[in-house]
Amino acid sequence: MVTQTTNPLEWLQPLLLIVIMGILLLLLLRQTMMLSRAGEAYSKVQRVVTLVACGDKVEARPFKEGDYVGRVLGDCGEGRQARIVGIYSEEVALEKPR
């Protein structure tokens, strides 16, 4: 009588093939996702601040069209003139959409 014995290692080869194909599929998906995200990194929001000085006092306010450093804004009391002494930008963190 012939007895059939099954070798557990026989399943190793197809199993390995399936694992490799799975990894390849995952890599392909990752590549596709990376491509679709390529343009997303380029969207930061900035806030521009204007520094207005009146004597020794300096106040920050949001930038308005026409502002430039050195611009005289007019009288700010006691014969002093308000002047723009600085303009700079700050990055603002974007809120994630819910």
Partner: protein, 371 residues
């Protein structure tokens, strides 16, 4: 009915067949083809982004021109986008600076004339911004065209090394292009940019003097008293978007002073400089030489005039990245400007004595920085 043993035998046979086929395909260059295909796809997707950026810049520039009643904005922009300058012959270096200066001057004059003709009712600031936005559109269009050229050339000649190099460079190219795209917004809005650090230091050193006069094309000068020294400050005329001609202006000023028997004790140049990766932005550093990033004609004037009259030529820089240099000045750079003002005063105090004349040039684009 297929039992488990048969199925296993089929799977084994199929996997071996696949393995052999894969091995043969590897020797025939399949791996490279797959790799080139992935690289090409990657470049193409990024090229779409670059095309979008160039198109957006074009649209925004046309909008700006139309808003400011420019005559035939489309043809004006097309002319500027395709404009080029042929570099002078360099194998014969005699008078190369003079020839280069001549070509640069012609280019500036041509651009100015074109914009004056197209926007006769606009002021200088508006025209300068239109000019810069057209130049940014030109730069973005050029980047996109060059990437497309190398991609198509690589595909046509099946040069996978070319495609690989291009794919590896794409993140860097995209970063530069994105800087230009963002710079366009900042220029049009009139914000001081990182490169405005030099003119801003000069303006702050003048204590916001109101007696600036134009000494050279788009370049202004003023003099103020500082601890008994006479400071002669030079910067580009703002708040328009221009770099002026600081070298020519300083040459003229020093010549006038020496003709009157006055020799400046110090020539200090202040400019934004590119930092190395890993360095902090807004850090100041000092050295010797002309701190100016032009292609040659202006820089050599500083060196020549300083060498001719034996004036110490000193440099003060504010470090920043390329992106920071062309985008709205950030807080770190602004703080760097404040530090540079203090350091410039320190240099003047320690290296000159009361009664001396010091020439200080704030180098850079003066967009958003008036006087």
């Amino acid at each position: 009915m297929v039992n488990g043993q048969d199925a296993l035998a089929w799977i084994q046979a199929l996997s071996q067949l696949l393995f052999i086929a894969f091995l043969i395909a590897l020797f025939l260059g399949l791996n490279q083809r797959i790799q080139v295909y992935i690289w090409t796809r990657d470049i193409r997707s990024k090229l779409v982004i670059l095309e979008g950026m160039a198109e957006e810049a074009r649209r925004r520039t046309l909008d700006y021109l139309a808003r400011n009643n420019a005559k035939s904005p489309e043809s004006l922009l097309n002319k500027i986008v395709d404009f080029f300058v042929i570099e002078p012959v360099s194998i014969e270096p005699t008078d190369i600076i003079r020839r280069l200066d001549h070509l640069v001057n012609i280019r500036i004059a041509r651009f100015r004339e074109e914009f004056e003709k197209a926007m006769p009712s606009s002021d200088l600031v508006t025209r300068s911004r239109a000019e810069v936005s057209a130049e940014i559109t030109s730069a973005l269009t050029l980047i996109q065209r060059i990437v497309k050229h190398y991609l198509l050339l690589g595909e046509k000649t099946r040069n996978w090394i070319l495609i690989m190099q291009l794919q590896l460079l794409m993140p860097q190219i995209l970063r530069i292009a994105d800087s230009y795209r963002r710079a366009l917004n900042d220029f049009l809005a009139g914000y001081p940019i990182g490169d405005s650090a030099g003119p801003l230091v000069a303006l702050k050193l003048s204590n916001f003097s109101s007696n600036w006069v134009e000494v050279e094309h788009d370049t202004v000068v003023t003099d103020v008293d500082f601890e008994g020294r006479k400071l002669i400050l030079v910067k580009a005329r703002g708040p328009a978007s221009t770099v002026g001609k600081p070298g020519t202006a300083v040459e003229k000023i020093v010549s006038e002073l020496t003709s009157k028997g006055v020799k400046p004790s110090l020539l200090l140049t202040i400019d934004a400089a590119l930092k190395l990766e890993g360095e902090e932005s807004g850090v100041t550093a000092e050295g010797v030489g002309a701190a100016i990033g032009d292609i040659g004609p202006e820089k050599i004037r500083f060196e020549r005039v300083a060498a001719e009259h034996k004036i110490p030529l000193r440099a003060l820089i504010i470090k920043m990245s390329l992106e920071e240099a062309i985008q709205a000045m950030n807080k770190k750079i602004y703080e760097g400007v404040e530090k540079a003002v203090a350091r410039a005063r320190e240099i003047i105090l320690t290296e000159t004595k009361p009664g001396d004349v010091v020439v200080v040039a704030g180098i850079g684009n003066t967009n958003g920085v008036g006087q």
